[in-house]
Amino acid sequence: MTKRTGVFVCHCGNNIAATVDVARVAKEMGEVEGVIFSKDYVYMCSDPGQSTMANAIKDNKLDSVVVSCCSPTLHEKTFREVTEDGGELNPYRCEIANIREQCAWVHKDKPKATEKALKITKAAIKRVQNNQSLTPIGVPVTKKVMVIGGGVAGIQAALDLANAGLQVVLVEKSPTLGGNMIKLSETFPTLDCSQCILSPKMVEVSKNKNIKLLTQAEVQDVSGFVGNFKVKVRQKAIFVDPELCKICDDCSKVCPTVVKNEYDENLTARRAIFIPFAQAIPATYTLDESSCLGLNPVVCGKCADVCEVGAINYDMRPKIITEDVGAIVVATGFDLYGKENLGEYGMGKYDNVLDGLQFERLCSASGPTGGHVLRPSDHKEPKNVVFIQCAGSRDPESHCAYCSKICCMYTAKHATLYKHHVPDGQAYVFYIDIRSGGKGYEEFVQRSMERDEVMYLRGRVSKVYEQDGKMVVKGVDTISGKNVQIDADMVVLALAMQPSKGTADVAKTLKIGRDKDGFLAEAHPKLRPVESVTAGIFLAGAAQAPKDIPETVCQASAAASKVIALLSKDELMHSPAIAKVRLSHCTGCEMCVQACPYGAISLTGPGAKASVNDVLCEGCGTCQAVCLRAAIDVKNITQLQIHDMINASLGV
């Protein structure tokens, strides 16, 4: 037990001092056994506050320190650094008593809050007096990164990482790279062709020697910790050898099975053996097991018969690939809000009600109509098109509460593109607000109104139905205060963005959090926007929140640079607050061995007693709670320390 404890009580301006009598806390804590120095100060974390603390440690030869202030998540690191650098004391001799978030901010009654602050601080004193000096454990890092998701976010992150010299494993669920972006026709506000800007990057990925690309693959299991993850990836069998496939198209010509083409948003059909689109990476045909007649030459076998190079092999089986990586970037992207949820707009019921991605395909030169805007029902040019914004967004009662952020801009782009394709047509946009923050964005929206004469109507649409070959759109224009009815040829819904379907599973596998809307949760909304709460796992793109392409690319590069910084060291420091066995008490009963979630404990040595692997142990303490003889403890939060804290908390 230490004998020269110092206590520093922070006012946090008025944040703590308004509800806690900080002077009284400092005075009474000065009288606790073993405390020889006690002081309150207005801002302990300020420069003068830190020097006060450093000097007090040195001048009074303190051997343990408590700072009574805000949550340890904020300033534990700060004060431990002061203890080490300024005070020349082992940083693990410093503990934080949280009297702000857990006390001052949640109570109004000053005497009661002060009583509680006294107990919290005394508990921290009792704990720190039995703390040991510890040294972080150096662990070698694997200089390899896994990127999950092959959309623009994953591509950008993988390229940045590979160009920095790191090995990258890029895992994509679908048969090709490109994600949602490759389906777009043009991008706002510059109207540059999406394929033209993304395809070269996809080729760069396939050519980069540092990148290993695994398509049709999904992450199955992750173990380990920052610097040393072990990831199991399951790769589907594609039944075509990419090395041999010459992309001649002979196989799909003879394939008798026709299914909807996902790449064209179900507007066209494809065969069971197909290539998603001409520029797909990897450039190979792939056989979709679920729609093939049976992968059996007796049943069909036509594709294998016509393939001159013999690239098709029905005997391929799924592979489990295990990769050791130091960090993981999650970029699983978005899906559109399910159209089945928007029955009032007739989505899924009428051929001429489309979603934004389907309209992109109609405008795209590589799309189902070769870049001509034609309505799906009769292939005629639509003369009146209604665009409905916030379809599913900003509707907390029935749909998503949040704003999907990019729809205002892509609707303006759709209306503009439509006018370029059909100059004598009329575009109508129903909107709630126009949110066009971004470089050149507002000007783009204005141009669509002025030059392309898009009619913006402020209000919601109540109903869309089909009558005499027209789509009747009933809504309200809240500016004129009148009901509006438009007999349109086509309706396009700007559906809300939501995290892609696999995001929930990936989050669960990786043990990273999601927010209330299902998007991946960042470690701090402002200061750590690309990190997940789990060290070594980073976020990029629309899986974290709705965002447009420039923002996605920014975040992907930011995540990559965080990874580069992390893996630039040869060793990472592992917390030394880990389990320790008291051999004299251990009977080798194996309770802890079975309880340890990390397999960090094994029986070794004479008498087969428990021993802890320093690197694998995360210090959770599950072992100490199962040990019948109290033979195992987590350093600096031992059972004796907790008993002391219980006493202090109860004022005993």
Partner: protein
């Protein structure tokens, strides 16, 4: 919430002593969020942050009651969301047994409670403490396991 604090003052002036064991990764962070959101709840529960609800030894519960606690709260991550993979499953099983033990020795059920509060659930945390304090106030001081001195 403010109203609840008002009504919680009962006539006898009994202020229960409660120890709240909070998992560092979820409930402690959730209580931080309650603080940042300036939610108000009674000051009776003194928090002790532990690494994981799975590290919660039954001895801590008995020790707290022995030292005069009127109530003990353990709060961890939602089942399936443990920061340490499966610690809270251990906690859940163990705490069930501790509850049975406490019943057996004649302690009121309401004095020992487990809750699942994530880092995003500041409102839930404040609600859990609020409700727990109210329930303990109804029961009065705990004497069954308190050491006589």
């Amino acid at each position: 919430m403010a109203n609840a604090v008002e009504t919680a003052k009962d006539e006898t002036g009994f202020e229960p002593k409660i120890v709240a064991f909070l998992c560092k990764w979820c409930s402690s962070a959730g209580s931080d969020l309650a603080g940042v959101s300036r939610l108000q709840y009674p000051s009776n529960a003194v928090p002790i942050t532990i690494m994981c609800s799975g590290s919660m030894s039954p001895m801590f519960v008995l020790s707290a009651f022995n030292k005069g606690a009127d109530g003990v709260l353990v709060s961890g991550c939602h089942p399936g969301d443990c920061h340490y993979l499966k610690g809270n499953f251990f906690a859940r099983r163990k705490i069930y047994l501790v509850q049975k033990l406490l019943q057996f020795v004649g302690l009121e059920n309401d004095r020992f409670r487990m809750s699942w509060v994530s880092a995003a659930e500041g409102v839930k945390f404040a609600g859990v403490v609020d409700e727990f304090v109210k329930d303990i106030k109804k029961l009065g001081p705990q004497t069954r396991l308190k050491a006589k001195r």
